[in-house]
Symmetry: C2
Subunit: 164 residues, 2 copies
């Protein structure tokens, strides 16, 4: 696994960063791929949304139970979207505004500035959209908190590739 580009956003630290694109509102970011990947962006502009697959490079070590931003109870890590995972891979469905050369402008971006990009995929409703799905504890208590705090940052957090 290696970085194929970088995601630039207005968010410099975990505290205050939106939780998931759906709660990131109109935050605009840019995804800057390395030049070698420009030809692989052909046809992407036909998609309204794309998946950004990226590394949670500032996540601390994982633990089996976490108290998510959206809840007050300890939950199994795999039942959350918390960054501190055995393999710190994040996925976010963002709105694609434009493609210019090797730069994508996206809207509703919810990641920290400087996040390493691993992959870009088209969002395809037939494969990805299941609007009625039952969503466990998210359905009960969720809805209030829309911004992260610092609970998943390393206590002494500095840059790190974080690759597990």
């Amino acid at each position: 696994m290696h970085s194929i580009g970088v995601i630039r956003t207005p968010f410099r630290e975990q505290a205050g960063t939106p939780i998931q694109p759906a709660r990131a509102g109109d935050a605009v970011g840019t995804v800057i791929l390395e030049d070698a990947y420009t030809p692989a962006l052909k046809d992407l502009e036909g998609f309204e949304r794309i998946w950004l697959i990226y590394l949670f490079d500032r996540a601390r070590a994982w633990s089996p139970l976490v108290v998510p931003y959206l809840d007050r109870e300890p939950r199994g890590l795999f039942a959350t979207r918390a960054p501190a995972r055995p393999n710190p891979i994040g996925i976010s469905a963002v709105r694609l505004e434009s493609v210019q050369g090797s730069t994508l402008t996206v809207r509703g971006v919810d990641v920290l500035d400087g996040t390493p990009l691993l992959d870009v995929k088209p969002y395809v409703p037939e494969f990805d959209a299941f609007p009625g799905s039952r969503a466990g504890w998210f359905e009960a208590g969720a809805g209030c908190e829309r911004l992260a705090d610092d609970r998943f940052e390393r206590p002494c957090g500095r840059d790190s590739t974080g690759q597990g």
Copy 2:
């Protein structure tokens, strides 16, 4: 990045494997996590669907343009879900049938038997479901082909971690 478990499915080779869970119908698979991760599965059963994040371990080297299973035109790789990517990471939203110890039973699974698991995330419609999204070339020609052929397997394909 390291495997945290394995996905067992009825599909032994790329040819004949469904393209995406939405086209995998009722194919049942099991996801067997290493025992160390069992406590992290708490609360997962409340979710109707989960994301499996996995390694395309039998994909060949990536190229910027590919002819997808669902089309006849060369498309930019990042505008496709083809396995042969710079970082061969796959994501599939599958239906969660049950959780027993460290084993998940899932339905609508579309990956090769023995695929290494990297992560499990809950499917949350608020974050993940955008049913009306415009889907580029998928909307035009797609719909006929529902099974993969062998075009993304390595010509001399054998097991490999495939980690880029």
